[in-house]
Every structure is written in structure tokens, then in C-alpha cells.
Symmetry: C2
Subunit: 290 residues, 2 copies
């Protein structure tokens, strides 16, 4: 018998004969170019790629858009296949949540802020369904878009805390021509609101520029600047605009001594949109990898 | 690309080439014959067996016996090896809980009752450490003793709810000559209390007998009988004595229409002891398999 004292040593000892690398791209469907960029990256890096398509009721709060969340499964099949996916996993809600389920995975701290504050329970739903998908698919690598940067931070925390044998691959936000971050929810926007939505990234880009030039050097200056610019847009309501450390999501003051995120959530009509930029430690250029 | 709608179908499709079966026996060490019976069963059923030895601080409440919990790692190594284990995983607390961990796995409902009521947070600690061990070891089968029947129910619920690819194997309680359930904590007992401790299983066995003969036919009769018998023991305090459905742990009345558990927790001096018997549906014999 061998006695082992570290997780690394144990994993090496137990590693089965090297099997093929399996990638997972979890999605809620209604695929856009952001999703496709994740699939394409997974295809490049893995031998086999599973795309999951599941609108997860557990991560929607009461009064949120679960029912009207856009769906087009036939188009999703076509797009996932074109992007090179090998398997599309599209379970029913009953398959994922049979009656009687009582278990929740909860990441505290990180989930009190930003979208966690406005959507209580949202990240419990995310952490729980991602745990389930990891157990069902058993991927080596899982791909997530940084448009949902808080989600990426929560999942990385969960993977580390619970020792999931999965590598999380955060991928850059894909944007429309005018800078709007790709999102399945963009389809909700009226033509007029769609135009206004470009102001979100415009404000983040402007803050990024001012951080570079030194016009903005603290978190509160950055927040004020972003907020002012967004509040100037008629019909747009700011839900939050914050600058925090990333991925720890702690309050910060000075912007250059650590990696930070400038994150916003706004409402345009009935539609809630989020976006962010990540500013790396020291040198001041916007960056999408944590 | 293949589209798949059920978890079973997906798992079959993804199943890597059949590798050797890996068994896990999670323990807090200070191994006794109960633990050894789990290891021996695992050795029979698996190609390779990992025994984990970790006194999990997360499942101890403030004021509980974390510090004085009995430990004898050298003896554990010897006993595990003799029982046929292949690997002993004995991590430090820092290895299992590095600073900054924020994730908890919580099974609600089941954990409100019995030991969950007297030890708030205990089962969060159990579910969390077992999740970690499952991710670290990635066993095919994991072995748990039914002395901790509520723990078995909680873990089975968790495994089902989160789709862990692990088969839980509940194993019968191993007892001393006089019926006392094997427990690392029995070592706390004074000679006098050790003798009194035999009354716990005596009461459960007597209730089992009376259920068979029909003298006891409802949960409240069984509880009253067990409680009376225990309370007659000088110096013994009953923390709880309950008869509930098993593994659902719901209140029951009539005893024959479903599987039930008669579960007790008592204190003898500073020592807390638990025990139970499981009564299967219909025919009335004590049984340790859920």
C-alpha cells in the first residue's frame, strides 16, 4: 500500500491511461457568434467536443425571462455542427431536475455582488447546473465566455474549492460591429434600443482609454465616468456600474496594482444587458483573459 | 454530430474504454472493524481501493470534539494495508482547505432532522468534503457505513441530485459483542459508561422485536418504547429518538407500509453516541441495507 499526502500526487497516481481530451461548452442555446467562438476553440484544443443546450430554470429568479428566453433548437443543432461539435446534449428540464432534488452548490462571497446582488440565487443555479454538467459529461476542459465574467469567477472558485478535475477556459467576449457584446438577449431589443445599447461598450472603452492616459486613476473615478456616460442615454437605466478586483471581486481604489474588472448592468426597456472590461495589473490595456 | 437528450445515453456515448474499477472508503481514521469491513468489501468489489483518512474540520461544530477526536495514523496505515487497501490518502487540512475556499454543497430537507438538527452545518461539511473526495479520487464506487444512516441518505441524495458518476455502497453496521455500534468515539467512554452504552442497541433490538410481534405498530409507540428504555439508564441523556421513513426521513405513522429507520442519539458523560436500525417495508426483521 502507498500512502499519499497531496492531491496532485494522488491524481497522478490514479490517472487512467491517457484518454482523449474531452471539451464541454455549456450553453442555454440560441447560439450566437460568441458561443460559436467557444465551440471553435474547444474543437481546436480537444479531441471531442460536447455542447450542452439547456435553459436552466434554477438560475432564473421569479419575474425573470425564463419563459420568453429565446429558443431555436433546430438552428442551434445546425450551428453547433458547423462549428465542429461532436455531440449536442439537449436534455429536458425533467431529465436535469427530477422531482425531489434538494442539493445546491453555493459559492459565497463572490456571489453577493454585481449580478449576484440583483439576481439572488442566480449563481446557486449556475454553480449547481455546472456541477451537474461536469458530472454528466466529465470533461477535461470547459469553455465559458468572459461576457459573463462574474460567472467565470464563480465557476473557477467552485472548481478550485471542490477540486473538480476540469480546466476552465475563459474566452474573450465577442462583439457586434458597434461594440455591443453578443448575447442571446439582444434579440429582445427594439431597433431604437439596439442603437442605444452600443453606448454600453462605448462607455467601457472610453473608461479604458482614460485609464491609459491617466485621466482616470481610481475605481471611484472610473465608476463615476462610466455611470455619467450611461445615464446620459435616454431610456437607459443603470442597474450597477462597479470597478472591483478580478477574479476576487473585492473593492479596490487604485487601478494599476492589480487586475480589475469594470462591470455594468443596464436596462433598456424590459431588457437587461451586462458587459465588462478587464484591466490587467500594471500596463493599461483592456484585456479579456483573467 | 449526434444530438442526445438523456443523461444515460450521453454517459454511454462518452464512457471511456473500460478502465479498472476504483473503490473509495472515506474515513476520519482511528480505524475500527466497521471501517475494515468497508475496506474489505471494497477490495472484493474493486480492482483498486483508496482509503481516505481525513478528520474533516468542516463537519465539526463549535464546541464539538474536533481537537480531541482520536487519532492514530500509524496504526491506521497498518490496518488499512492489512485489509487490502492499495492507497491511503491522508491529506493535511491545508491541502484540503486552502485559504479562500468559499464553496459549500448543501442538501436541504434531509439535513434538518436527527443529527442535522443537533449539529447545524454538520451535513454541509460532510457533503462538501465528500464532493471534494469524489472529485479528487474519481471512484466508481464509494463505501459508507450505515451506522451513520442519515449521512448515507444525504450522500445518496447528493449523488443523485448532482449526477456524480459514483455508485454509493451502504454497508451494515458492525457491532461489539454486546451490540454497541463500532465508533471511533467509543474510546471516549469510561468503563462504566461503556457498559451502559450497550443499552442503546438493546433498546433498538427490543423495539425491533416488538414491531415483529405487533406489540408496537406505530412510530409514536416505537419512539415511546425506545425512549423509556433509554431514559431508564442512569446518566444517559437522550438527544433524539425518532422513527422516520428511510431514506427520505419524513414523519411516518404506520410502520409496515414503507421502509423506516429507528434512530437515536444519546449522551453518556461528554460522549455523544448514535445508532439506528432500519426496518424494511412489510416483513418485520431488522435490516441494515436501505
Amino acid at each position: 500500500m502507498k500512502t499519499v499526502r497531496t492531491i496532485d500526487e494522488l491524481r497522478k497516481l490514479l490517472a487512467p491511461q491517457r484518454r482523449k481530451t474531452l471539451g464541454l461548452v455549456p450553453t442555454m442555446g440560441y447560439l450566437h457568434r460568441g458561443h460559436l467562438s467557444l465551440i471553435e476553440r474547444a474543437v481546436k484544443e480537444c479531441d471531442r467536443v460536447v455542447v450542452s443546450l439547456f435553459v436552466n430554470p434554477l438560475q432564473f429568479g421569479p419575474g425573470e425571462d425564463l419563459e420568453r428566453y429565446p429558443r431555436d433548437p433546430d438552428r442551434d443543432v445546425r450551428l453547433a455542427e458547423q462549428a465542429g461539435a461532436d455531440i449536442l446534449f439537449a436534455p429536458s428540464t425533467a431529465e436535469m431536475y427530477p422531482a425531489g432534488a434538494q442539493t445546491v452548490v453555493r459559492v459565497s462571497g463572490l456571489t453577493d455582488r454585481l449580478c449576484g446582488a440583483s439576481r439572488p440565487g442566480h449563481f446557486d443555479g449556475v454553480a449547481t447546473v455546472v456541477s451537474k454538467l461536469f458530472h454528466i459529461v466529465e470533461p477535461d476542459r470547459a469553455y465559458f465566455g468572459l461576457k459573463d465574467a462574474q460567472q467565470v469567477a464563480v465557476i473557477q472558485r467552485m472548481v478550485e474549492d471542490l477540486n473538480f478535475p476540469v480546466t476552465i477556459v475563459p474566452c474573450p467576449t465577442v462583439r457586434e460591429e458597434d461594440g455591443l457584446a453578443m448575447s442571446s438577449r439582444n434579440v429582445y431589443l427594439s431597433a431604437e434600443d439596439r442603437k442605444k445599447a452600443a453606448s454600453i461598450y462605448r462607455a467601457l472603452r472610453e473608461a479604458t482609454r482614460k485609464r491609459k492616459t491617466g485621466e482616470v486613476s481610481t475605481a471611484s473615478q472610473a465608476v463615476r465616468m462610466i455611470r455619467e456616460q450611461l445615464e446620459a442615454v435616454p431610456g437607459l437605466t443603470v442597474e450597477y456600474a462597479e470597478v472591483l478586483s478580478y477574479p476576487g471581486l473585492e473593492p479596490v481604489n487604485e487601478l494599476r496594482s492589480q487586475q480589475v474588472i469594470a462591470a455594468v448592468a443596464v436596462r433598456l426597456g424590459r431588457t437587461r444587458l451586462i458587459d465588462n472590461v478587464i484591466w490587467p495589473k500594471e500596463e493599461g490595456s483592456p484585456c479579456s483573459a483573467p
